[in-house]
Amino acid sequence: MPEDIEIRLLLDAIYLRYHYDFRSYSAASIKRRLNAAKVQMNAATLSALQERVLREPRVFSQLLQFLTVGVSDMFRDPSFFRVLREQIVPELRTYPSIRVWIAGCSTGEELYSFAIVLREESLLERTTLYATDINPEALHKAEQGLYPLDRLQAFTENHQLSGSKCSLSEHYTAAYGSAVFDRSLRKNVVFSDHSLATDSVFAEVQLVSCRNVLIYFDRSLQDRALGLMKDSLCRRGFLGLGSKESLMFSEHASAFRDFVASERWFQRC
């Protein structure tokens, strides 16, 4: 198929020109995303899009939005956060200082969910959260902590189901159709540009959450990313994945044991 060749060439071009490496992303979803970009960016073909991407960095940043942004809710899969609250927080409490890595934080929904649980459990003050992503615009949004009010109903329901005893509204202020999450939630957050495809380990942490990021990677890249998480985690540290992600097909499976497998929580051996 000519289209498959165009995809390969475009991803090579992006790597050579901008050092963003999408070459080992899952083929089926990258194809959908590129085709969506092609249509919305008014390019007749991916080759035509490639020509513009190579010459205009601004066009590349536009394309990057199509290539990276998944859509997440706060407290997506509430039962995952219930396990965090009820079974993992007690273990985290035993550390004098806590470091948490939200890998592929996108626009911050997952990050704030973690920060809120940690605050409600009185651990936020002694926690450093590393929030990393490859998309600078998404990171910027995460840093702002601003979400349209119409999304808050779903966030609030999930928050309740996650086992919170407070109201989500204690953590944000509503203004001009948006919810602004408290500045204090991100006081100890380090936002950073980091690629699971090309960068290396940067800290030792007790918990990594990387949910619905690995689904976009092929198996070789999944192994690279899981290797970074394995090497970042201290002994008995926790790894949380998305509800369809597992270590089943990974070469790093033996470095982890199931913690609550049904909720995709694993523990470093």
């Binding site: 089926a28 979803s29 959908r32 859509v71 690995l214 689904i215 998305g242 369809k244 597992s246």
Partner: protein, 200 residues
């Protein structure tokens, strides 16, 4: 009666993808129990689901089907002999190496999982060796995917709108995909039997 040409195509397909929405359970109930335990090919089914709870479909149909009914994991091989159900709140895709892929990209046709997303990715993998079935439903999801499958030489089967609980989805697929077969559920069941029965 199915035409000779259709029967010939049915026994050559290597995967069957199925999409259904409003009225799905009733319709699938007449179809999936036909699939034998050692089915020759995999079936992959997308039913529109509400986003915020786990799908009960594997449980419901496991009790009624001889074939193994399951929800795939990311990168799991699309193995024959199984009926695979898309989970809620993800798009389900087929990858070129014939494994399952997932995405949390925006809903398509207001749906995640979307039938179009599965069908289009499956068409890329299987080409003319793919069959699809569009069943009852109240939106246009599946029509675009079915037309992609048809264009690649695959087999498109659509439930007769007059026999469907919700006509819109079959109507849209008929309008866009020029299906080889428009049929009632018993006829579709016969097609599934032909396509899935174990090699003699």
């Amino acid at each position: 009666m199915l035409s000779a040409e259709l029967r010939d195509h049915l026994i050559r397909i290597e995967a069957l993808v199925v999409g259904a929405s409003a009225g799905a359970i009733e319709a699938l109930n007449q179809l999936l129990p036909i699939v034998p335990e050692n089915a020759r090919i995999p079936l992959v089914v997308v039913v529109h689901l509400p986003p915020n709870r786990a799908s009960l479909l594997p449980q419901i149909f496991a009790a009624r089907c001889a074939a193994c009914v399951r929800e795939p994991e990311d990168k799991q091989p699309v193995a024959a002999g199984n009926i695979w159900f898309a989970p809620s709140n993800y798009h389900l895709l087929l990858e070129p190496d014939c494994s399952f892929g997932f995405s949390t990209d925006l809903p398509v046709n207001f749906s995640r999982p979307s039938i179009d997303v599965l069908f289009e990715s499956a068409a890329d993998v299987f080409g003319e060796r793919l069959g699809c079935i569009v069943l009852t439903g109240a939106n246009d999801d599946g029509a675009h995917g079915a037309s992609t499958i048809r264009r690649r030489g695959g087999l498109v089967i659509v439930q007769d709108p007059n026999s469907a609980e919700a006509k819109q989805m079959p109507n849209a697929a008929i309008a866009r995909a020029n299906p080889q077969l428009i049929a009632t559920l018993p006829e579709i069941a016969e097609s599934i039997r032909l396509a899935t029965r174990a090699a003699p």
